[in-house]
Amino acid sequence: MEALTWTGSLGNILNPMLSIGAAVFAVSVIIQIVLSFFAPAMTLQSNADGTLMKRGGALGMFETMTKVFFFATLAICVLYLVCGVVMPYGSTGIVGAMAKQFTPVWIALILTFVTSITFKRRLGLYGKLFDSIIGMIGFGLVMFWIFTAIFAGLFDMIATHDPVQQISGLKNKLPGVPMPEGDERFPHYLLGGDNLARDIFSRMVYGSTIVIAIAPLATIFAFMVGITLGLPAGFYGGRLDTILSFLANLILAFPVILLFYLLVTPEIVATGIPSYMAAFLFVFPIVFFAVSLNSRFYTQPSKRNPMLIVILGALTWLYLSMISQSGTVLNFLPPAADLFDVDGGILVVFVSVVFVNSPTVFRIVRGLALDLRTRDYVAAAQTRGEGAWYIMLWEILPNARGPLIVDFCLRIGYTTILLGTLGFFGLGLPPESPDWGSTINEGRKLLLIYVHPPLPPAIALLSLVLGLNLLADGLREESLKD
């Protein structure tokens, strides 16, 4: 087999087009920014026949040009991917081969977008997202990695090789290197081999499963903790608020990396502190559900009792099997009753990320509750004689959902960055784990000689976080329009 080039024969036609398109786009953006300071603003002129005309002058011309060339560049990029999927393997180079590997993701993405756009008027805030281009781009990037994680993690698709398997002779080889003769597996290392001769492309793909599994879940837990503590702090105020705010500020004043070093080292894990912290932090979801259901249905005991028993029973069982780990200080469930054992390293990482995130969520929720408790509907509920927890969870919380949803997206991105930071310092996750932070850490040590190993995970992490930030921006914009 021959080594693959980046774009194969397709590049002869498309590469010049792409570089011209991108160059013109960049130049017109710069001119437009400089002009915007001096040129008169664009105005609307109403014509005699009742139509409106945009009068932009030079600035308007450059704005149109920027737009046109942006979409042209985008179209060429899409063309690379489409050709890669359609044309036979090898003729479209590394980019095409990667596009072909991602085929299930493309199909899933197209299906999602088509159905969502068709029914967008019936889908509430989610549907409104498809009115903003920024929001759609962000949503697309996020869904790309979610689908990648699902297809790679559950169905073993997309990845070309085993993420931890080493193939001798391919150590630090450049992207597109072919397999040794007579090897029956996938014919190339698409993005080259790392310093232990593992396939970088497959490691990047499997890395997404770890991030997509941990980051949203950790953020949800942080939100449960932050909401359960922040609502009463903002609603009641007083001494409770003072104490809780002091504790939150205490954690926030810690340099995050110092905290990670203090919590995630093997010595600390041996003392069992992370296990106790897990036991403490994971109680909050149970408290949250118990209180919110009870406050809503306590007037109908016949409905509430079975509901509480079923939901709390299931949650408690999950909780117990989550915190009871073989090999740590908390190991009390018999193996038959223990539903699952989370890998020790992942649990520690999870706990510390939740711990770092919850004070910020607490502060946001507290601020929102402080603001919303003076509203009329709260006064009305108080007059009706509703309990405090009912007001907090069923009156204040739903009305705070807008900012919270936006912050949720941003916070998943921040959690992803934190996970990468942990990996970057080699903390928590096992060293051979394919998560992006660890892979960047592995690759940076030889960065001045071999550039290609750390770049794919770095770009992957960047695109996921960027997608989440754009998504949050789109959601904020659309929710403000109401």
């Binding site: 603003a41 920027t66 926030l252 810690f254 340099p255 010595e267 502190i273 750390p454 960027l466 930030n469």
Partner: protein, 344 residues
């Protein structure tokens, strides 16, 4: 105002006490002490040897006692060890030696006084931070003002998207990409490589070649956030009455922006810039590790890796101090800059 500052300083001291106690507690857990004994003594120590090593050096005292000694409110230990040698925490003739007395202890990794290490490293990081600020603040303000002066225009959209991209790029990603592109010949075939991918030499002799990449890496991450805050405040100012009045008077657009809008639009970003310091501290740790620049953040990582208790405590005091003081300054500065706010 005086009472307000006094109360804030009180809360600050309490926070610093709590934080150092937490660090003290976590670093003094037995497995950590065992590791310390083994790295300082030898790795094949028996359990008894570890215990006697720790007892002889005062590590086996009760936690509050040790903390009190470190703080300088309890007399330092004098222990006659099992090997007959008498070790004491303080120098001859002193009973109290702790942070309050200005004695920060001795680093077990660097074999030097903590105060010397912290001050030299802090100087190195100060140099880095100075240049970061010089790049980040004007750049971010310029981007924010340009984006915010015409809300919704093409420039606004382009620059806002650019600032979102910069906030979405953590230092370890942008650092790796920047080194790959500007520090090696692999991606762009430079005749001479423009920048160095390592800043080790910048400690003594910082120049454009070895200092540009670390500075720009930290600056980029903070820039987007400040720019977005500036944009938000600028768009708000541009809709104000006095701007409309200026327009109706026929003042030219550049003059409106520079004379009338800018000053009021820069109040809010001031707070944000001050509150960026704690974040920058994080970035400093990552960038100093990535570029091997032996400053404060690098020291933090080394101290944490080797469980160097007293150095770690010194480092955490300084960083907590930085965080809390910047919060205080941002609160006070906001009151001074914005006459509409008065603290009763």
């Amino acid at each position: 105002m005086g009472l307000f500052i006094l109360r804030r300083v009180g809360v600050m001291l309490l926070t610093a006490l709590c934080l150092t106690f937490i660090v003290f507690w976590l670093t003094n857990l037995y497995p950590n002490l065992e590791k310390l004994a083994k790295t300082q003594g030898n790795f094949r120590m028996s359990d008894e040897a570890v215990t006697s090593y720790l007892t002889n050096r005062g590590y086996q005292q009760a936690l509050p006692v040790k903390y009190g000694q470190w703080l300088g409110v309890l007399p330092g230990y004098v222990i006659e060890g099992s090997d007959g040698e008498v070790r004491s925490r303080c120098e001859e003739g002193k009973t109290f030696c702790g942070v309050i007395q200005g004695d920060w202890g001795f680093s077990t990794v660097f074999k030097d006084n903590v105060s010397t290490i912290v001050s030299t490293r802090l100087g190195a990081t100060g140099k880095l931070m100075f240049w970061v600020m010089m790049v980040m603040v004007p750049g971010a303000l310029l981007i924010g003002v340009l984006a915010g002066m015409r809300e919704g225009s093409g420039t606004d959209r382009t620059l806002s998207t650019a600032s979102i991209v910069s906030t979405a790029t953590p230092e370890y990603v942008s650092g790796v990409i920047l080194i790959a592109v500007l520090g090696t010949k692999v991606i762009i075939d430079w005749d001479t490589i423009p920048f160095k991918g390592s800043a080790t030499s910048a400690i003594d002799d910082a120049n454009f070649e070895n200092f540009f990449l670390p500075v720009i890496t930290i600056a980029l991450y903070g820039m987007g956030y400040i720019a977005r805050m500036t944009r938000a405040s600028m768009t708000e100012v541009m809709t104000a009455q006095y701007i409309r009045t200026a327009r109706l008077k026929g003042v030219s657009f550049p003059k409106i922006v520079i004379r009338h809008a800018l000053r009021n639009a820069l109040i809010a970003p001031f707070t944000v810039i001050m509150l960026q310091f704690p974040w920058l501290l994080n970035g400093v740790v990552i960038v100093e590790t990535l570029f091997n620049y032996k400053g404060f953040g690098w020291t933090l990582v080394e101290a944490a890796r080797n469980n160097d208790i007293e150095l770690l405590l010194g480092v955490s005091i300084v960083s907590v101090f930085v965080v809390l003081v910047t919060q205080l300054i941002s609160d006070i500065g906001y009151v001074f800059l914005n006459p509409r706010i008065r603290i009763s």
